[in-house]
């Protein structure tokens, strides 16, 4: 009947195959084959030999599962552990929801004539450059002028919270990686995976895990996506610290802690800050995609542009994201340059 019948017959597995077989729901291919009649099946030439995939083998032997059983099995498995997982993950991530809600409320609730000066002040504190403060003022004013102030603030609020948490978690992971080659070998492939997995893919299990109305749903997605550079560059930065200086620290009897906070972190700071810059930029990229799972902000407008074919709405919001990205990049780059300058170039 099917191509691989002979194989199972010669192996003497026919009984095992038929024993478990049941006439379950047929696949589309089966139905098609039925309507066309069975006469072709016996005469398969070598040219048409199918790859021995699960589906092809299933045709010959009912005990072998089909490929669709794999995907449905994965889904069933995930749903099976979902409740247990939720008991653990839900309370753990609840603070993220609170932080995001709180930040969104603060940044959109505060009147613009208080919020904008505060942002200017932060910019000045980080960059110490009037040029950049002016540029940021221009960007916010521009967005506010076309009535995108509130959505821009929502986007910024999410980025601030997520980037902060990325640094909070990412820097210690990077430090731990720099100290242990084994941990580095374990974490690096995970980081590679997080970086290459299309962002939509980790939205799927998150949707199953949390309700779409919870802010932590997109918070986790953004953090998973954006944490990679800060971890990588912290690890790299500490590993690149001049070994002569480390040797001197050892020779004068520094403890590990003294070495870490007195030598390694300060000397790795330019690299760590480069990681923070990348993390902020990647949070911005992800926050747009996360609009699909209810993240507020400029991304919603882009999404509306796509859904309703509102070209203008989408374009304006898209350009808004671009200028916001430029502003964030300039501010973090300026602080990076400031750290670089205050440190020795040897």
């Amino acid at each position: 009947m099917a191509t691989y019948d002979g194989l199972f017959d010669t192996l003497g597995l026919r009984d095992w195959c038929d024993g478990g077989a049941s006439d379950g729901p047929m696949s589309m291919a089966d139905l098609l084959a039925k309507t066309q009649g069975d006469d072709k099946a016996g005469a398969t030439s070598l040219r048409e030999l199918p790859f021995p995939s699960l589906d092809a083998l299933h045709d010959a032997c009912g005990a072998i599962p089909q490929s669709r059983d794999l995907t449905s099995g994965l889904e069933a498995g995930f749903l099976g552990i979902r409740d247990a997982l939720r008991v653990v993950v839900d309370p753990l991530t609840q603070p993220l929801s609170w932080a995001l809600e709180g930040m969104l409320n603060v940044m959109t609730g505060t009147p613009w004539w208080i919020m904008v000066p505060i942002l200017m002040l932060i910019t000045w504190a980080v960059s110490r450059s009037w040029k950049i403060v002016g540029f940021v003022a221009l960007v916010i004013a521009g967005l506010a002028f076309v009535d995108h102030y509130e959505v821009a603030m929502q986007t910024l609020a999410i980025i601030f919270v997520c980037a902060f948490i990325c640094v909070l978690i990412g820097v210690p992971i990077g430090i731990a990686m720099s100290r242990s080659d084994r941990l580095q070998n374990i974490v690096t492939p995970i980081l590679d995976m997080l970086q290459t997995l299309p962002p939509f893919v980790y939205l799927i299990p998150l949707i199953f895990l949390f309700s779409v109305t919870e802010p932590k749903l997109y918070g986790i997605a953004v953090i998973l996506y954006a944490i990679v550079p800060v971890v990588r560059l912290t690890n790299l930065g500490i590993r690149l610290v001049d070994p002569d200086v480390i040797e001197a620290a050892d020779a004068f009897g520094m403890t590990k802690r003294q070495k870490l906070f007195g030598v390694q972190i300060p000397l790795a700071l330019p690299n760590i800050m480069a990681g923070v810059n990348q993390t902020i930029m990647m949070s911005l990229a992800m926050v747009v995609i996360a609009s699909m799972v209810s993240a507020p902000g400029l991304g919603i407008l882009v999404l509306r542009g796509i859904r309703n074919l509102e070209l203008g709405t989408g374009l304006v919001a898209g350009l808004g994201i671009v200028v916001l990205a430029i502003a964030l990049d300039r501010v973090t780059k300026a602080s990076l340059a400031r750290i670089d300058a205050s440190q020795a170039k040897r």
Partner: protein, 347 residues
Amino acid sequence: MTDKTVKVSIRNLYKIFGEDPAGALAEVRSGTTKAELLDRSNHVLGLDDINVDMNEGEITVIMGLSGSGKSTLIRHLNRLIEPTAGEVLVNGEDILGWNETRLRQLRRETMSMVFQKFALLPHRTVLENAGMPLATRGVAQEDCDAEARKWLERVGLSGQDEQYPHQLSGGMQQRVGIARALASNSDIMLMDEAFSALDPLIRTDMQDLLLELQAELHKTIIFITHDLDEALKLADHLVILKDGAVVQQGEPQAILLNPSDPYIEEFVADINRARVLRVRSIMSRDAPAGEIAGEVAPADNLESVIAKAGGNVGLSYRVVRGGETLGYVSMAEIMRALVPRRAREAA
């Protein structure tokens, strides 16, 4: 010389780099050479049965060319590198048995180190760098600063406190390095090619500074160098390393006059002997026949005696210290001492 106490002592020290040092060690002990070991099992014999005593208050210079194992050796003294076998005794105690806490105490209080590439903390000021050993020990900030300032001044670097290391020249950076080592107030100073990265003129300055400090402080200094002139200038005790083994050790003048090995002969061949050799090394007890032309001190170098004689090779001098006659030296002896032994034998 005889009443000197031994401060640091290295006994039968071996270091083998490779995957199975213990296995390779057995081979080395049964007579395998460095080249054979590398060939056969891909292990590098870093240090081969080193035995050196370093006296309190003296400068011990360990000299050798690149790859002779001298930097490896000095790092065994504060266990920045762990040996494969052997003992390192500091004040009579084997530090290899010490745990981390005691070892840290040793590094903080008993031994300080000066590095070839200075190894200052680039993000700290000169003052903070010099005070680093004390700050590491947990001394209060103002005491650190006071002590650091004192030593910076002593090495000739006052008024640069708030500079960063990269703003200083190499010589000045190394002065900070020395101030840092002195500020730790340790008895033992390890100097790993401390002056090798400096210009020749600055290097001479720094050597003079070191001798001047040593005359005052009487530290036990272990100095690594690949420069024979520097070694002869600084050493009270000279150890010459080749391929991880000690070729000859002893008083530098004695090594210069009696090289035990063709390798060392070759080494000392290019030295300005007139400037390095001193009267006390070649003087004789018996008064020579003929007239005594004048008096010289035992620490005078031959160059100054030749200058005194005005090139007249017939003269003899009495060697006098504090009014006491120690011996005599003739110009003929001086001339003989200027010729390396190998050249003498060839003639």
